[in-house]
Amino acid sequence: MIELDTIDRQLLRELMHDATQSASALGRKMGLSQPATWRRIKRLRDSGVIRGQRLDLDAEKLGFGVTVFLGVKLATKGRVSLEDFERAVSAIPEVQTVEHILGLYDYRLRVVARDISDFERVLRRRLMMLPGVGDIEANVLLSEERLPGPIG
């Protein structure tokens, strides 16, 4: 685990907001030289604090009007391997995220579809065909916001 100082935290906040900013532009904002800024960013990436980048696209403008979160319970634990299920579900293009969870459900999936009838197709032809799938609960996403988290 690495320790962050105030400047590191400020850099993280800037990069969470816009990761395309150059080291020199960020340096100017923070009163640091370009090489010093670059070294700090490199350290944040190398230590794994910055896991990667995410392009934020407006799904609706690209024709994906529906996002649904599914809670999936596996029906036959022990008989179906978790790896088989995970591999099969991750290969479905409409499934954006797969998380293994503990509690009421075994997995949480984020699924995009063009509209409700397209979602029904994905659900019936793809998701319900997965090995070992039992109970499925669906919640349609209405809004979401991501917050910077405790780096302030």
Partner: protein, 151 residues
């Protein structure tokens, strides 16, 4: 409207948002000038909303991630607004989503360990307004998280 070139650029950009403009143009098989022009337009039209660094909270010592599924007391007309407004003030809340379905809202919460989580839960979460019911799900692993759209 988007054409095949826009889609091709977005497809490559989505899979590797850290690409430089020149690398992206090369992968999408367009000139750097075309690529820059298309990206500017996609940004102006609001198709591309941003490019964000993703933090690995584990690397910063946050070992626990919990999803809290919240049902609100809908007899309160401002239940959604009051609840989300206050939830936003909790630093450990990293995501707030609202739903149509069995659950009204979901909060993603990170904590250093279970003791820290329990502290946040008791002092910050349970004092949020208009809660009718809460269910907690512990996060074990993230198997796919690229959030790529099937363009």
């Amino acid at each position: 409207m988007l054409d095949d070139t826009d889609r091709r650029i977005l497809r490559h950009y989505q899979h590797d948002p850290a690409l430089s403009p020149a690398e992206l143009a090369e992968r999408a098989n367009v000139t750097t000038a075309t690529c820059a022009r298309r990206l500017d337009k996609l940004q102006a039209d609001g198709v591309i909303r941003g490019n964000h660094a993703v933090i690995d909270w584990h690397a910063l010592g946050y070992e626990v991630e919990v999803s809290l599924r919240v049902t609100l007391d809908k007899t309160q007309p401002r239940a959604f607004e009051d609840f989300t407004e206050q939830a936003r003030q909790i630093p450990e809340v990293v995501e707030i989503q609202s739903f149509l379905g069995r659950v009204d809202l979901r909060l993603s919460i990170i904590a250093r360990d279970m003791q820290h989580y329990q502290h946040i839960y008791r002092t910050a979460i349970l004092t949020l307004p208009h809660i009718a019911d809460i269910e907690a799900l512990m996060h074990v692993a993230r198997l796919k998280s690229d959030e790529v759209l099937p363009l």
